[in-house]
């Protein structure tokens, strides 16, 4: 067929003994949105590097518009008509949109401005060419990246997890744009591991596992469970939740918490109240930036309340609002922050040192001296027990992938055997299999009597794990509703309409004494 744009045959790339790509074949046609789906380490990134000219395969052929090509660098790929939009933006914050785009093109910012407006109008990517980048939201920055790529008039655009940075409400607009781009006869390679998105957007899905292509399917005709099974090689486990008794006494209580914004970019907390009982998982849903970060800091002790307001946060019966994280940890509170590097772990330090960061209380020190053998053994047990892929306890934290480091941190906090566990974005960047494992462990911990609070952007995650959920919007927290609530209502509440939840019968199954 002459509408075949890109064909890969027998692509093999080895790194030492590891075959990152093993005899990979891929065909992309004009006008097609083609998903490449796989877990972390399945070989997606290596394959994209081959297509974009970053690495050269050890074996196999790249055919571009029917002719074999051998690209030495991304500049050659761009000359051929292959563009890429990266997950991490590369924009200069102090420059305007047009100035940023002009750095990738021979034209001046002034000449580019009308073209930026035109492309924006045509494709549903409104962006002001004269706006400084620092004033743009994440979604707008992504538009700038996409426009920069499009103005180079590529035939093929590679998009690396473009929805990872967007709020759920911004995703449909992006999809509309991508459909219009494909409608112009361009092809898109869409890298993702979010199955529902692929089913909603893509025409074809190539599924990779262990460096090989395991299937090429029509995602619209395949269920998400089937896609997941192909991707991870076994059925996607959903957390199993045995029924359990709830204790009437809450393990964590937040009582009418008010906190002014600490800086112009922070969200003030407005009369927040919540309770988490031993044995239950409570979720907080909401688009990020609505006060989750501020609330979590008050709960963890990173932000301390003045002592007269200490009773606003209680662990079991004790007022802890004015205590620091170490005191709260001693009283049975553990916390997984959303930032792994630099907060949950020190990037430069080894996994052993990072195990010590919060777990010193597990007998890892005597009289102020670190017990290195015990620390190392503990780190090794975390690595083995949580399937952390790394070179060992001496590996620096920053050498791990985000997902593996998250498994390590979650494992560490769970090892503290907390009475209350707060987890912020438990599975950001973690692949589906590991995410399912983390969710199952949360459910298991609750089953053993821990009180768990999950804060997540991903509504599915909350619905899958939580018994009850609150919605947070502009620093206000909705009353809790059972996690069986219709997701459209939750969506409305996430946009600020808490009344949509009020129609739901209040949750009487739980003790609200």
């Amino acid at each position: 067929m002459n509408d075949v744009l890109l064909r890969l045959e027998g692509i093999t790339k080895r790194y030492g003994s590891l075959a990152a790509n093993d005899d990979v074949a891929l065909t992309v046609r004009r006008g097609e949105i083609h998903a490449v789906l796989g877990e972390n380490g399945a070989g997606k990134s290596t394959l994209m590097k081959v297509i974009y000219g970053v690495t050269r395969p050890d074996a196999g052929e790249v055919l571009w518009k029917g002719a074999p090509v051998s690209m030495r660098n991304p500049a050659e790929a761009r000359t051929l008509g292959i563009g890429m939009v990266f997950q991490h933006f590369s924009l200069f914050e102090t420059m305007t949109v047009a100035e940023n785009i002009s750095m990738a093109l021979p034209d001046s910012p002034r000449d580019l401005a009308p073209r930026i407006r035109e492309a924006g109008a045509r494709l549903g990517l409104p962006v002001d060419p004269d706006a400084p980048v620092h004033a743009l939201s994440v979604g707008e920055r992504q538009r700038v990246e996409i426009i920069r790529c499009l103005l180079q008039d590529p035939d093929l655009i590679i998009m690396d997890e473009p929805t990872a940075v967007l709020s759920p409400s911004a995703v449909p607009a992006l999809f509309e744009t991508l459909r219009r781009i494909a409608g112009e006869g361009r092809a898109i390679i869409f890298i993702s591991h979010k199955l529902e998105e692929i089913r909603a957007l893509c025409h074809t899905a190539t599924i990779m596992r262990g460096g090989k292509v395991v299937a090429t399917v029509d995602p619209t005709a395949t269920t998400a469970d089937d896609l997941a099974r192909l991707m991870i090689g076994s059925a996607l486990p959903h957390p199993v939740r045995p029924p359990r008794e709830l204790s009437p006494k809450p393990a964590l209580t937040v009582d009418d918490l008010v906190l002014p914004a600490a800086d112009p970019f922070a969200m003030a907390l407005d009369h927040i109240a919540l309770k988490v009982h031993p044995g239950e998982i409570v979720g907080i849903a909401g688009v990020s930036g609505n006060g989750q970060a501020e609330l979590v800091r008050v709960l963890s002790g990173e932000t301390r309340l003045p002592s007269q307001e200490a009773p606003r946060v209680r662990l079991e019966e004790s007022s802890v609002g004015d205590l620091g994280p170490r005191d709260r940890r001693r009283m049975g509170l553990a916390f997984v922050p959303e930032e792994r590097l630099g907060r949950g772990a020190v990037p430069q330090l080894s996994l052993a040192d990072n195990a010590y960061l919060t777990a010193a209380g597990l007998g890892l020190s005597t009289r102020g001296f670190i017990r290195f053998a015990a620390v190392k053994a503990f780190a090794e047990s975390l690595i083995a027990g949580n399937d952390v892929r790394c070179s060992g306890p001496d590996a620096p934290a920053r050498s791990l992938s985000g997902g593996n480091l998250q498994k390590f941190i979650v494992g560490r906090e769970m090892a503290l055997a907390p009475k209350v566990l707060i987890v912020s974005q438990p599975t950001w960047g973690v692949d589906v299999g590991a995410a399912a494992a983390i969710r199952q462990r949360l459910v298991d911990m609750a089953g053993k009597g821990a009180a768990i609070l999950v804060i997540s952007d991903e509504l599915d995650e909350i619905l899958e794990t939580a018994d009850r959920l609150h919605v947070i919007f502009r620093g206000r927290l909705s009353p809790s509703v059972p996690a069986t609530v219709d997701r459209d209502r939750i969506g409305l509440a996430m946009a600020g309409d808490f009344a949509a939840l009020a129609a739901v019968a209040p949750d009487r199954s739980l003790a609200h004494a």
């Binding site: 991490h88 170490r326 907060r343 960061l357 919060t358």
Partner: protein
């Protein structure tokens, strides 16, 4: 543009200081030759003379002591991101506190006088640094500024004391105190040299610093606070405590070094106490990679520069400022080498579309 290297190698720890020292020697040599000093004499003064006799080695060790002491104390703070650059002032206050005791008990022969002076010196230096710690903790004042400004205050205090209350009444109006009694003086470690207990205190500080940084929970907390402040907050390590420990450790060590000077080679309190040990020790701490063992070698290198500089002034006629110039070279080359080991230069325009963040 500069781009961070992904994995700075372990070799950095040795290679960076080695390159910095080599470039310093080369540039110093070229500079002194250019201004007309006989090159062979300059080389002889720096490379041979400091090691040519027991006395010369003794001089090197004499200068190693205070540099080592001060640098070990400073490095503890630096690793925690606490920037005490006023060790010179803390050294002076430590010397003053010890001197007050020595002068007040001028005729004493008590064996407790010297230990009391050591304690007073350490306490004085720590207290002087403690002012900066208090200002930082209570008012958020940058310790970089306060410690530096307090150095000037300490110097003025010293000038006032040696021309006023502590001046030797029989000293023909020279700005200096009385000579200390024997009970207030360190005995030389090796006969025929002036090297004294200051060196032993430096080595003891090295041991303590190493154990503290590598083995204790408190040292670990300081390190985390320096590397990743958000992680330290998350773990619940107190920043206030880190500020106090970092500044007090540096101040106490500098104070001890001050005792070593007045109770050692000087034997009295005088206008010029230290040839800039407090500032040179900052360079020593960095040259040693903020590593207690590395600092021992760095202190030796710096001491050789001091002693070689003195010889070069006499034998090769280089300017008095030669040691200071070499210290400057050393710092600049160290910073440059260290940056180039952790970053690489890309000469072309930023390849924006390749995903490398600007």
């Amino acid at each position: 543009m500069l781009e961070a290297r992904t994995a700075p190698s372990r070799a950095t720890l040795v290679a960076v200081p080695a390159i910095a020292v080599a470039l310093t020697l080369l540039c110093g040599f070229l500079l002194f030759t250019a201004i007309g000093s006989p090159p062979e004499k300059v080389a002889y003064a720096f490379f041979v003379q400091p090691f040519a006799s027991v006395g010369a080695i003794g001089e090197v060790l004499l200068k190693t002591g205070p540099l080592l002491l001060v640098a070990q104390g400073l490095a503890i703070g630096y690793r925690a991101d606490i920037w005490n650059i006023g060790a010179e002032g803390q050294l002076i206050v430590g010397a003053i506190c010890a001197s007050v005791l020595a002068i007040a008990f001028e005729t004493s022969t008590s064996p407790f006088l010297l230990p009391a002076m050591i304690l007073a010196g350490a306490a004085g230096g720590a207290a002087w640094a403690g002012i900066a710690a208090l200002l930082r903790v209570r008012f958020g004042a940058s310790e970089i500024l306060t410690t530096f400004m307090l150095s000037s205050v300490a110097l003025q205090l010293l000038y006032f004391l040696v021309t006023g209350p502590l001046k030797d009444p029989m000293g023909f109006n020279f700005p200096q105190s009385v000579m200390f009694g024997d009970a207030a003086l360190f005995a030389p470690l090796i006969p025929g040299t002036r090297a004294n207990t200051s060196l032993l205190m430096g080595l003891a500080a090295t041991l303590v610093a190493w154990v503290f940084m590598a083995r204790t929970t408190a040292g670990f907390r300081l390190m985390v606070g320096g590397l990743a402040p958000a992680a330290a907050r998350y773990a619940g390590f107190s920043q206030t405590r880190a500020i106090w420990i970092g500044l007090l450790a540096g101040g106490a060590c500098a104070g001890l070094a001050g005792v070593g000077e007045v109770a050692g080679p000087l034997g009295m309190l005088q206008r010029t106490l230290s040839p800039g040990y407090g500032f040179a020790a900052i360079i020593v701490a960095f040259l040693g990679g903020l590593n207690p063992i590395g600092i021992v070698f760095a202190a030796l290198v710096m001491a050789v520069i001091y002693v070689g500089g003195d010889y070069a002034v006499v034998s090769a006629g280089v300017p008095n400022a030669s040691a200071t110039i070499l210290q400057g070279f050393l710092l600049v080359f160290y910073l440059a080498a260290s940056l180039l080991f952790t970053h690489r230069i890309r000469w072309r325009k930023a390849a924006v579309a390749e995903g490398s963040a600007p």
